[in-house]
Structures are given as structure tokens and as C-alpha cells.
Symmetry: D2
Subunit: 328 residues, 4 copies
């Protein structure tokens, strides 16, 4: 329900309570609620401008509600403006300070502005490297200070939300945490940009509903990230769902970035997939790069070497010209 | 690594630290660690009885390590003894005290000893009923006191672990939380029985690795639950993976229960699927039943009515005789 | 469209032509046609008793059209009468006469009445055993004559339809041929019983539409066979879709048999899955058995040995008593 | 087994018979056979130059056997030369002569050299438009004569192989026919170019094995076509597997084209997906275009209108410059 311009916060809150809805300020006061609450109680009719009925619970992120793509500010960067494609790069995990520093210097030298690296790794096995945790976060904070790069790092579970939110410029919700209500609600109450990765077993519908958890609490700085879904095909790690990205571009007002590294799972396929994503018109890409991929503590198969990454950035800048976009 | 009988805790700890392994007491001291740590440091060789190398990180739950199925005590019940099949029943969610009480009385009258009901519901949409939370837990505690039923309820995220652990006789890790490290680690340090549901997008390998997070911290009271995986078929909610259950029965030493209600998603299919599970030889089943399924706040399609459930329990008891098992 | 009792064949044909429909005699004259043809031309209105509109093109096989399950005669056997469960058994492929004869004698000694064995094998690789073809068919014909067993064998492609139809008592359309129009139409014009296997990538909707190809040409002797679908899980060969079987039991009027051997792909899981199918209430089962599974030319992993099969038949007969069905 | 240069046909045939192999002339005589036949019989050792052992039955199409991509001649066109990307376009089905003629003129005016259109449609339902069959083929033959376009049309089943082979410049094996031995073997004995579509339920392994059926009979003019696989996602018709295309580019020596129309199932997504495919470096694309998509007899949702297609061709030519390829 989109309320009238002049409605006061108090009145808006009263209506929201009456219909168990989420009150958010999005230009005007807006109340998101179950599709079952499809009539306005009589005494509140004067407050309501328009009432949209949604078949599914995909509402605030829908182009039916707001056809304009939301541009998101991350430091000095504007994501989702349709004139640029954002490149996020870095190693899978922080392994030690020198590995992180070397990679950070390298990607910065190629013009990359946002560094990715995991401190809390959501590994499937307890017997493998689990990330450096808080120590890794501190290394990221130091790099940020030294090099002026923006940082994105992942929150694995609800026990370290504050720590990640403090140092990370974008809070990354990993695929396996996509359904975690504690994380989604924390992010909804934050104002930080949030990168929400699609779970590899999640439908597009569920992916958008997870985004609605954040939006309905008032944080509109949500970036969607497609990173491959699980299918019967096992020659590649996952199956990158670019048809799904087209669906999101058509129906959803949030910016979309793609992670070809996790989808492919093998470095050989990542550069061409990244070019495909650029030509498709995504808002950004997230690519894994490591000083010595073979020795990486995790995801060794899929991280690009420095020379592969450098070649890719050149190719992307060349290709970007033909698409009317700039790589940032 | 299985250590010799006479090894002291101190020595066991020293070895575990040296190889970054998890020390657990399972009859003898055992250290679980990455398959990469496949040789015993020379100075510790005297401590080690046998060293098993595992291809994948499926170790303590493997029949290669321990061919004997682990029987688990829940109150006076013994789960996994191959002579009985456990029936867990109750509504999807606690909706109010009278709904819970009515169902509890009813299932108790049919001989059911463990009541299920969700207080923290991991819904996919923020705009639907999210469960009663702590109030729901308190109602479960009261029912437990009044009727002497054992309780199983779900932990949705890491923010209410202590509350659930306090009142629930079995901590249920729902499918969407299967990958949650905070929950898995909490359960590993607990001694409570844990029911771990397979994520609908998780391979059997990942399912067992999630169990290993709990086992490697010393809690062996882990029950696996298959509840349907996501496939291309949409006429049913999920696809119950009984081939997967057969794989687990063959290779894994943990008890397995099956939840046909969530797999099917439609009440009409649940009774016959439950009979199939019994004939397959599962250790238990979890069935949703509600006083008035059509009016249920969640999962209305799949909950059995009292008369359907009553008929099912009779049929299961009859069928059980031919299988040499007893329904408990 | 169900025509009135007294309508003549000529008039029925005229109406069928007018609306491009399939005229079949099913007690009365019935015309199946696209859901788009949802009105009866004025001049034919007198001919029509009832006109059912179907959302999808699942019509003659639907319980909406005919709620009664179709019982199918195969020799002296009646399949689908809800009092018996049919057991079909035999090796994956005819390898030579003595292997076939030995298996045929053995299964007959256990009371099995229908022998399965492939002569034309739809292998995925050209470099493996492709079946004995016509020679294999001739061996099957000889066994039939010698032992009086009924035979089911597979048609691989449209080049040997007549040969298979001549000797086989049931024409088997394998999973990979489920979409083959030439085979489906040939079977529609035949009167022989047809066993239609679900393609491992086919939805239930597509499976039933394939059956409609046969039914709409007037052959109602169609048996559906679920044999596992392809999912992301690779520890088992396929995933047996018993939820799908429940959907078919609820909505479709054709008998359903299940093939646990192909679904599981490993002999260890087949017996318990077969028991589960019996308890679920299927109309029949198809099980692979071989005198020496390890030496089998195809599907060596999944065929039961004679002793395993013998044990299974005993167990099934025991269990059948508790289900009110008889194993035939 | 790659035989020595000087080996005579007679000797090559003798060896092929001895090891039940497929003898093909590929520059030199080569014998493809099961990986189990991994030793050369002593008396033939002199004939053999090199003997490659393949883990799976993916041999003649493998880059291990022949690292050079096979360029295929279709009329004056050379497919697979890495300097050009082939555009194939046309309606889903031949509906009538004027629809076909209009589309053919239009695509020709944009520089398209190969026209696609189905005469035998492999529909999933018997109650929908099944294609014009032989009449449709004749219309295609007439267009070919009138406009000088090359033609690709689909063989649905084995009953019309000769007819299709006679008029079509490329024999299209549709996804549902990918496993059809009769079609594969016919194509193997033909010299015509064959476009083999991946079944939506087929692994890459099976897809390549289907290609091996054709190659092993001596026809090397095989073009692979990825057209989307079936996954749990239903908002789009299929999921285009570009990770799979990267696997094929890395490991297989056959040219690859992509069909974004069938994968997406909705016209809105097709243009951007086509651009992505171009940037990915595919050898060709197949796009559906129709004079009046809404009125199309089949696949109405996914066919581009003339103006959409015209815009797309312009965009592709522009983008192609940045990729060093030319659209042909």
C-alpha cells in the first residue's frame, strides 16, 4: 500500500499495525504486507493512495511497485546506473596478510575499486580450512586503510554480524546463508549495502523473498548476486543461470551482479563467462583471483592467476566500449 | 585416527593439536582430521592404534569407521535399535495453546511419544506467519509438563539456540539451517539429541559433512532426516529421496528418519509414503497433523486431519508386524 | 467430449473431423481434442453428452474423465485390479541363450509370470554392448514357447517395431524413447499392452502427455512405469520419484509399476525399495536379476543375484499379506 | 587407435573386426572402440601408431584425440573457423507458405544465410499442432530454390529420415531425439552436416556420447547445440548451460552453437542472451523469429518479432567487431 504524500508517521504506523504490515519510507510511506490483507480497513481509507495486489510475496523488489532500478551508493561508486559495470575481485579467502596485500595491490593497479576476500568461510566440511575469522577481518581493515580499497566480505552466521558490518563496505550474505533470518533481519535494520547471493538450491521466487526480508525492514541497498545453481550436470561446479538473470532484469528493480567463478568452478571457463555477463548487461561481476591459485587454501581450481586476470580486465574494457558501458 | 586404549587425555590432546584434528571420546580417543593429514608424526606413532584414510570428509558417521549403527536415547526411547520405528507427530507450527493442546492429547492417545511443532518458523516470505517464537516455546514447555510428551522443535537461526535447547528434547535443525555453522557448532558442544534435516539442495555428501560438524565436536546423538529434495518436478512439493536413504543405510552409522509430509506437500500422498518408509526400514518418521488442516497458518495442504492420522497409525501398526518392527 | 450412447460411428467421425479431434471408442464414442476447441459446433450439439474442459492436455488418462482405474489383461493376468501386485523380472539384456534360459527357469520357479530382457539396448555409448537385436528376440520367442512365460522386451527405435510387437506380450517403451512419436503412434494403433517408462528428464505432465499419444489412437492398454528421475544427487544412479507415483495414483486412471533397479543403480538398495513400493500400493514392479551380476554385459551394478532375488520374493510375499494384496 | 600412414584398408578392417571397433578415415585410419579393449592383439601391433586410452567413451570428439576444432562446410559457409559466428534464424514451425516466405525474405534481407523451420514438430501433447510434415518439407524446398537460402529442419523420428535428408542442408536432431539410435546411425552413414541438440535431461557426457554414435560411423560433420537444460527453476522455460558450453569448448573438437530462444522461452530475454553467447565465443546461434509471434502455432512466447530481430542483428554486428569475429 502506497500512502498519500501528506500522511504522518504516526498515522502510517497505526495503519501498519492494524494490518500487520511492514512500514517503510521509500519516498512516501509504504506498507508491505501479506497479499491476503488486500483491503484497507474503512477507517484508514483516507490514508491510502494506491493498493497493489501481488500474486506472490515479491513486492518491494518488483518493477510493478517501482519500475525504476535502484542505484546504490558504495563509497563514491554508484551501482546500477546502466552506464557502468562494477568489477569486484580478490581471493576466495584471506589466508595471511602478505597474500591479501599482494592481491589487493595487484587488483588496485588494474583499476579495481572493491576487494573481496572471505574471513569466515562457510565450508561444507569441518576438516578443511575454515577461514581466519576475526584475524582475517582485521587484515581486511588494515588493507582498507592502507590502500583505500572498498571491502566486501561474507557473514557466515549470526555470531559475527557486528564485526563484519563494522569493517565491510558491503555485507555479503553467502549462498548458504541466504535463508538465515537472523542475518537477513540484521541487514534489514542496517543501512549498509548488502550483497545477497542466491542459494544454489533456491528458486528465483525464494531469492527475491529473501531480499524482501531486508527491504521490508527499510534497507533498500540490496544487490542480488547470481552465482550458479545446482543441477544434474557435474562437469562444472554449478550451472550459471543467465536465463534467471534475464528474468530478474525484467521483473525486479534491484541491481544484479554475477559471480562466474563459483558457477564454473574451473578457471579455464571464467574469462569467457565474464565477457558473456558483460554483454548480457549485468550491473557487476565478482571474480576470484589469487597470487598462486594452485596453493590456495580453498577453491584452488577456480581462482584466476594474476596474468589471467590482467588479460581479462583488458578484454572486458575493450568489450565494454561496444556495449556503451564502462568497467568500474 | 583411533588411539590406543591406554592413551591419556593429555597425550591425545597433544597429538590432536599437532595435526589440527578434532579429539573425540568414542569408547577410545579418536582424532578426526583432514584426509590430507594422512601420516602420524613420528613422535606420536606409539599412541595410534589404527589410521583410516577417507576419500571424502565423511568420517565419524561412516560405517568404515564404525559399522555399528548408533542407538540414541531420547528420554526412555531408544532410536535406531532396528526393532522399532519411531513416530513423531504434531502440527507444523504452534498456533495457540488450545490448538497445540488438542493435537498433543490426540497424538498421545494414539501412542505417540514425541510431539513436533515449530515456534520459530523459517518461512521463505517475510509477509507470512513467522511462528510465535518464545511464546510458542513456552507453550511447548507447558504441554511437556502437562502431558509428559517429549518435544522436538526447530531452531531457525543462531539467536535463540539456548531457548530451544532448554525446552526441546531433540534440537531440530531445519533444512534451510543445515549449513549454519553457528547452529552446528552449538549442537556439537551440546549433549542433546539433534535431528538434522537434509537441505533440499544438498547432496548426501554435504548432508553427512554437516553431521560431521556436530560429531567432530563430540556429540554423537545425531539423527539424520530426509525430507525431500528439489528437482524439476513441481506437481509435488519436493521429491522424497528414498534411494538416498538406502545409500545412508548402507554407508552411514547414524539413525535415519523420514518426513513424508514436507516431501509430498499434499496430504493425499502422505499415508502411503509413510507405509513405504516403514517397509523400507527407516528408524523413524515425522508426520504433520493438525486439528483443522484447512485453517492452518502454514503448510495447510500437507497436514493430516485427525481421522486421516488415526487411520494411518492403525495401518502402520498392522504393517509393522510383517516387518518385525514395532511402532513406538 | 463424451458422445451420447446412440450416436453412430459416422456421425461421431464427422464431429471428430470438424474439430480436429481423436475419436476413440471407450464404452461410448469419445473425442479428445485440444482444450482450445472448447465449444461444440452448433450442428453437432445433439451428439454430445458431456464436454469436459482440461487445463492441460492430460485427458483420457485423467480420473476426471474416468475415475475407474483401467485393468489390463496380459495373457491370463489382470494388472491394476488393486488386489494383486505384479512382479516382472529378468536380466537387463539377453546375452546368450543359456543365460536367458537359466534366468527364465529360475524366476519361473519362484512364481514369476512375466520375463523381462532387452534385445535392443538403448546404450548411451556406441562403444559398449548394444544388445543381440533380432537374435535376442528369437531367443525370447523360444523361451516363451518352452516355458510358457509371458515376455516383455524393449523397442529402442522405430526400425524394429514390428519385430518386437510380434514376439513381446507387452511392448516396452524405454525411458529414452518416451518422446518418440513413431513408437508412440505405432503403439496407439496396436492393441498390445504397452509399458511406457518415464524419461528421467520428463515431468509427470509430459509423461502423461506421452501416454495420451497412445490412448488418443484407441489403445487403452497403457501401463505407466516410474524408474527414477535425474537430479543433482549422484551417489545413486537416479532418484526414484515415489511422490510422483502418489500424484499419478491420485490423478490418473492407468496402472503404475515401478522399476527400483534402474532408479537405485546398486543392488544393495533394490530389495528394500521393492518392499517400499509394495507398501505404497503400486500395481507392479520390475526387477533385474542375473545369474552372475558381476559378469553382466550391462547394468552389472544393479542386477540382483539369484539368492538375493529369491530372498526378496519371499519377503515380498510375506509383506503382501499385511497389505491385502497378492504378489503375482 | 591411430593406425600408421601406410596401413591398407584391408588390414585396417581386419584389425577393426578383431577388436570389435569402428573403423573411420580421419586423415589416417582410426579405430574407435571400448576402453576395455586397451591392448593391441600381437599380430596387429605393426599396424598401430598410437593407442589412446579414454576414461569415458568420449573419444573422436575429444581434444585429446584431435586438438583441432573441426571446421564444417555447409554450402559456401565454413562453421567453426573462430573468425565468424553463424546466425541461423527462422520460425519455430512452417505454418503455411506465405508465413515461411515472408520470414525467409526478411531474414535474408538482414544477411542471414541459413533458414530454420520445423516441418515435423516433436510436440509433447498429441492435441496441439504437430507440424505440416511432408507438405512443410516441400515448402522449405521451394523457398530454398526461390531464395537460395540454406535450410535446416528437424527430423522427429525415424520414419521420415530420407525425406528430411533430401531437402535439408543440415539435418537437425532435436533435443527429444538425441538418444534415438535409428536417427544417430542414419546420420553417421550420411555425409550431411548434422546439428545435434542436447537433450534437456542429458549430461554433457551423454551429449558427447550421442555425437560419438555419428562420428564412429564416419560422419565428422557434427555440430553441437546447447539449448537449455531442465532444472528446478520454472520462471524460465529451461536453463541455458553456458558453463557447459565452456566445458565443451575446452574439451571437445566439434563446433558449438547455442539456441537461446528455447532456453529462455520468453522473447524478452533472447536478445541479451544472444549477445552473451557471442561474447562467450560460440560458433553460431539459432534464433526463432516470426512475422506475428502472438499468432504462432507453437512457441508463441519465445519467437522474436521482425523489429526485435532486426535490432538484435544490428547489435550483434556491432558487438562482433569488439570480439574479432564477424556475424555470418
Amino acid at each position: 500500500m502506497i500512502l498519500k504524500d501528506e500522511v504522518s508517521k504516526e498515522n502510517a504506523e497505526r495503519l501498519a499495525n492494524a494490518i500487520s504490515g511492514f512500514l517503510v519510507q521509500d519516498g512516501r510511506w509504504v506498507i508491505a504486507t501479506s497479499a491476503k490483507n488486500n483491503s484497507v480497513p474503512l477507517q484508514f481509507e483516507d490514508l491510502v493512495d494506491r493498493c497493489l495486489i501481488f500474486e506472490s510475496d515479491f513486492q518491494l523488489s518488483s518493477k510493478i511497485y517501482n519500475p525504476q532500478k535502484r542505484a546504490i551508493k558504495i563509497g563514491s561508486i554508484s551501482l546500477g546506473d546502466d552506464r557502468s559495470t562494477l568489477l569486484i575481485a580478490g581471493p576466495c579467502a584471506v589466508e595471511n596478510f602478505s597474500q591479501l596485500e599482494e592481491t589487493a595491490h595487484f587488483v588496485k593497479s588494474l583499476g579495481v575499486k572493491i576487494l573481496r576476500a572471505g574471513a569466515y568461510k562457510p565450508r561444507t566440511s569441518p576438516y578443511t580450512f575454515q577461514g581466519l575469522g576475526l584475524d582475517g577481518l582485521k587484515m581486511l581493515a588494515k588493507i582498507k586503510e592502507l590502500l583505500g580499497l572498498l571491502i566486501i566480505t561474507e557473514v557466515r552466521d549470526a555470531t559475527h554480524l557486528n564485526e563484519v558490518a563494522e569493517i565491510s563496505d558491503i555485507i555479503q550474505i553467502g549462498a548458504k546463508a541466504m535463508y538465515d533470518h537472523a542475518i537477513l533481519r540484521f541487514c534489514g535494520k542496517s543501512k549498509k549495502p548488502v550483497l545477497l547471493k542466491r542459494h544454489f538450491g533456491a528458486t528465483l521466487q525464494e531469492f527475491l523473498q529473501a531480499a524482501e526480508f531486508i527491504l521490508s525492514l527499510g534497507n533498500f541497498n540490496v544487490i542480488l548476486c547470481e552465482r550458479g545453481i545446482r543441477t544434474f550436470e557435474t562437469k562444472t561446479r554449478f550451472t550459471l543461470d543467465l536465463c534467471g538473470v534475464m528474468y530478474l532484469k525484467e521483473h525486479c528493480n534491484l541491481p544484479i551482479i554475477v559471480d562466474p567463478s563459483h558457477a564454473m568452478g574451473h578457471a579455464y571457463g571464467v574469462p569467457d563467462l565474464a565477457k558473456a555477463c558483460l554483454a548480457l548487461g549485468v550491473d557487476g561481476m565478482m571474480i576470484e583471483v589469487h597470487p598462486n591459485p594452485k596453493a590456495a587454501f580453498s577453491d584452488a581450481e577456480q581462482q584466476l592467476s594474476f596474468s589471467q586476470f590482467s588479460q581479462l580486465v583488458n578484454d572486458l574494457r575493450e568489450l565494454a566500449k561496444a556495449t556503451g558501458r564502462e568497467i568500474i
